[in-house]
């Protein structure tokens, strides 16, 4: 009997020895410093990682496209969506300790919104939005990071209500520390170091040697990363739109713009340059968001392009961010397509040539619903947003009407992916592809 008890005790001890560490491994731990590398400016860029960590928005979107409370706990519309009232969350403090007030929110929104059609004011702990046109998608629109509530502290450093506070920035590295008083709760990691302006190759090298925990994996390297079994996390739907903007001021003839659009071969870009990781599109919204993307023809038609161009010999400049090698490659390929259709195209640096006839743009679609995403995309291309409507047919009509002007030629939708170090746990991506750093934890924390 005693012998049997000893056996059971031994087996139990063995099970405990095996199971306890396993349970301990899955439980998030506080502490550690997360190293992130990114190509863009982590604060100034609308989809910058540090921006999402420092600042909060009034609302938030989830993967399903639902709008959830953020700094605003509730909101209601009046006057057939011409007036919206958002109630601020109480007790929220900025990183410098001051309370979040309606005045601060109004100031931040006014600074961020130069082309908005609505007017904003603060009343008590509420924010009132009014507009001459109905704004059915305003709660979703306010979830965009461009409308994040931010301000500058006494030292001129960014100050917000996000889960991390700004510590310092030097040599392209932004140092953030955990905000213990965050209304969302303290993040698991103690600090985040964001290395900016790192090329994909540099990020890849740092990730390979374990120097970086989280790096961007551009679409053209995604396949290689998958083949090499690199731990990846990617968005379920593409969030980056690659498109060519055509200046209607410099090319006023819509037929010429259509000729340009018809000359562009999307398949070669998707199949070869982006290693079949992109989604060929001729619409502004991805099919996953709109459901009607397939209605827009995507195939190139050089013959028809030549017909529309006629005998005109026009020299065009295709502006591109030449610091981005893959965009440069895409621009050169598009220039080849256009030359094949009889256009004389030169690829130029967008920084050097501020007013090219054509511009290759890679824009980030943050909104999780079709109407807001279309609004966002049109705003990014400098167009006046359509009258907001959540009705899919109205959204389609608006997009179709906009694309008929041929001032924007959508090419590809690209996913956003990150290489994740094995020591990072519980990392999830927001619908727009931004990592939810506040919810992750690090494994080897002591």
């Amino acid at each position: 009997m005693k012998r049997t008890a000893c056996r059971w005790f031994a087996v139990g001890s063995l099970l405990l020895a095996v199971l306890v560490p396993a349970i301990a491994r899955t439980r998030p731990r506080y502490g550690g410093v997360l190293h992130i590398e990114t190509r863009s400016d982590p604060i100034k860029s609308p989809d910058g990682i540090a921006r999402k960590l420092l600042f909060d928005t009034l609302t938030q979107g989830n993967d399903s496209g639902d709008v959830l409370p953020g700094l605003a706990v509730s909101w209601e519309s009046q006057s057939a969506n011409h007036r919206w009232q958002f109630h601020l969350r109480s007790g929220v403090r900025f990183h410098d300790g001051s309370l979040l007030t309606a005045e601060a929110v109004v100031q931040s929104l006014a600074a961020a919104c130069s082309r908005c059609t609505w007017h904003v004011r603060g009343v008590g702990d509420s924010i009132i939005f009014t507009s001459e046109s109905p704004m059915p998608g305003l709660p979703a629109e306010l979830a965009r990071s461009v409308y994040a509530i931010s301000r500058k502290d006494q030292n001129g450093n960014p100050d917000g209500t996000g889960p991390f506070r700004f510590d310092s920035a030097s040599n392209g590295i932004v140092f953030l520390s955990a905000n213990d008083d965050s209304w969302q709760g303290r993040p698991f990691v103690d600090a985040v170091e964001v290395y900016s302006n790192r090329s994909p190759r540099e990020q890849w090298l740092d990730f390979s040697v374990g120097k970086a925990d989280l790096v961007e994996v551009p679409p053209e390297l995604l396949r290689q990363a998958q083949q090499e079994r690199v731990p990846l996390i990617a968005t379920s739907r593409p969030t980056e739109l690659l498109a060519v903007a055509i200046s209607d001021q410099q090319i006023p003839d819509v037929h010429l713009r259509e000729s340009i659009a018809l000359a562009l071969d999307r398949a070669a870009l998707s199949n070869v340059i982006f290693q079949k990781q992109g989604e060929i599109t001729a619409s502004l919204l991805p099919n996953a968001l709109s459901g009607y993307s397939f209605l827009f023809p995507t195939s190139a038609n050089p013959g028809r392009s030549r017909e529309l161009r006629g005998a005109q010999s026009i020299s065009l400049h295709l502006g591109v961010d030449t610091t981005n090698a893959i965009l440069q490659l895409v621009a050169e390929r598009l220039a080849l397509n256009l030359r094949e259709a009889g256009w004389n195209v030169h690829v130029v640096s967008q920084a050097a040539n501020l007013n090219p006839e054509l511009s290759l743009r890679l824009i980030h679609i943050e909104a999780a619903d079709a109407a807001s995403a279309l609004c966002e995309a049109m705003q990014d291309f400098g167009a006046t947003p359509h009258e907001e409507s959540v009705d899919p047919s109205a959204v389609y009509s608006a997009e179709h009407a906009f694309l008929l002007s041929h001032t924007v030629v959508p090419l590809l939708y690209l996913p956003k992916a990150y290489g994740v170090n094995a020591r990072v746990h519980n990392l999830a991506l927001a619908p727009d592809g931004t990592p939810r750093v506040a919810s992750l934890s690090l494994e080897d924390v002591r």
Partner: protein, 478 residues
């Protein structure tokens, strides 16, 4: 111009011409010698450059051979041979391989020439290259269009990847640009230039050298155009600036594509600065020597002319003195040559002249005295004869009556007195012959006299611009 000046001029001119002729001949011969040496040097450089160029071509060929046989490319080729081959993973393959093999151009081509991967223009995937372009040549020149809209010339080699059928091609090469030129070993004073034929006309901006852009590119237009149009090697002397030392011996070599078109012109420009500076140095020395020679020649001429002309001048002066009546003039005999003999003859001549003159004077004097004596005798005879007759009458009248005697005596004494007076007069006139006539004082008008005298000299006064000033007062009588 005096004899001395003439002699000096003749001597100086002779020496100057002689020195100039010698200097010109030396300069000409030197230039010819150096030009020949320079041409040999240029030919050697061109040959050396050809050797270097061929070496680089072999290097390109060796790299492409090595690449075509590499396991990595063979693996890629086998992957590409699959029916459902996905080409996209190899988009950057050419760029990576080009970097590894230090090639400027590299393309991986499918059997139909479709580009799988291009190092120089990655966006050109799917477009086709002519895989028959190079023929069977191990290396060839090719004009390559680039992504920025420009074109460049490259030295290419085309190979098939080892052991793969149908063939997968690898087309690679090096760009013919300033880096390529910089890798070619060239002498310090030799510049290697390349003109890629990218446009129909000559464009000096396209001319590249191993170190920098060529500022004087337009100067090469002629030889480049000649080589380009003829397709043959051309040599020319080219002045890069107005200065002679900024000139080069240029050799233009057309570089042809497999189809025979001239794709580029290679220029080997051998600087003539050293040669020109050496020639200028020699010329400067020649001028210096000639100058010193001319000065020495002038000094020698002065000495020689003085040696020759001085006795002649003395003779001329002596002759002038003789002409002036100084017949006893003698010259110094300072040499024993012809001039000395001439001087001795001159002295002899003047001596004889003096002697003859003395003899002539003596004879004239004697003759004059004889004439004088004859005339004196004649003059004296005339009164003497009446005196003799009168005396004889008186002698005879002594016999006559006193009255008659008295008459006769009176007449005779009167006659005697008159004849004696006549004799005195004759003697007085002889005596006056050697005296100046006595001035006869009379009153004259001084002004008239001065004007009459000045009238005699009027032409001389007019010639010398002299004026006679006279007073308008009353005539002064003296």
């Amino acid at each position: 111009m005096s004899l001395r000046q003439k002699l000096l001029l003749v001597f100086s001119l002779t020496v100057v011409l002689a020195v100039a002729a010698v200097a010109w001949i030396v300069s000409l011969r030197t230039r010819q010698a150096f030009t020949e040496a320079d041409q040999k040097h240029t030919v050697a450089l061109v040959n050396q450059f050809r050797h270097e160029f061929d070496g680089h071509a072999l290097d390109v060929a060796a790299k492409i051979d090595q690449l075509a046989a590499s396991d990595r490319l063979v693996r890629v080729a086998y992957e590409l041979e699959r029916p459902d081959a996905d080409l996209s993973p190899y988009l950057a393959e050419a760029a990576t391989l080009a970097k590894d093999y230090q090639l400027d151009y590299l393309e991986i081509l499918l059997p139909d020439g479709s580009i799988v991967s291009s190092a120089q223009w990655p966006a050109r995937f799917g477009y086709k290259e002519d895989v028959r372009y190079g023929g069977n040549q191990p290396t060839f020149l090719k004009k390559e269009d680039l992504s920025d809209g420009t074109s460049a010339i490259g030295l290419f080699a085309l190979r098939t990847v080892r052991g793969v059928e149908p063939p997968i091609y690898v087309l690679g090469g090096k760009r013919l640009d300033h880096d390529f030129l910089a890798n070619l070993a060239a002498a310090a004073d030799t510049q290697v230039l390349l003109y890629p034929v990218l446009t129909p006309g000559f464009s000096p901006e396209q001319l590249v050298s191993s170190n920098a852009n060529v500022e004087t590119g337009a100067r090469y237009s002629s030889i480049i155009e000649q080589a380009r149009s003829s397709g043959q090697e051309r040599h020319s002397l080219i002045y890069l600036t107005d200065r002679r030392e900024d000139s080069v011996d240029a050799t233009a070599m057309p570089l042809r594509a497999p189809d025979g078109n001239v794709l580029a012109v290679l220029l080997v420009a051998n600087s003539r600065r050293g040669l020109v500076e050496l020639l200028q140095h020699i010329r400067a020395i020649g001028y210096g020597v000639a100058g010193v020679g001319i000065l020495l020649a002038i000094a020698a001429s002065l000495w020689i002319t003085s040696r020759i002309s001085s006795p002649i001048e003395q003779l001329a002066a002596a002759a002038a003195e003789v002409a002036a009546g100084k017949w006893e003039t003698q010259v110094e005999i300072s040499s024993h040559d012809e001039v000395g003999e001439l001087a001795e003859s001159f002295n002899h001549m003047t001596r004889q002249l003096s002697e003859q003159r003395d003899r002539l004077v003596q004879s004239e004097r004697v003759a004059a005295w004889r004439e004088l004596a004859r005339r004196l005798a004649h003059e004296l005879k005339n009164p003497l004869f009446p005196l003799q007759l009168t005396v004889e009458n008186l002698i005879r009248a002594r016999d006559l009556p006193p009255a008659e005697f008295d008459d006769t005596f009176r007449e005779s004494t009167a006659t005697l007195t008159a004849e004696i007076a006549n004799l005195k007069n004759v003697i007085a006139r002889f005596s006056d012959f050697s005296k100046m006539p006595k001035p006869q004082l009379q009153e004259v008008n001084v002004r008239e006299m001065v004007e009459k005298i000045s009238a005699l000299y009027a032409p001389a006064r007019a010639q010398r611009n002299h004026r006679l000033l006279t007073s308008r007062g009353s005539a002064m009588r003296v």
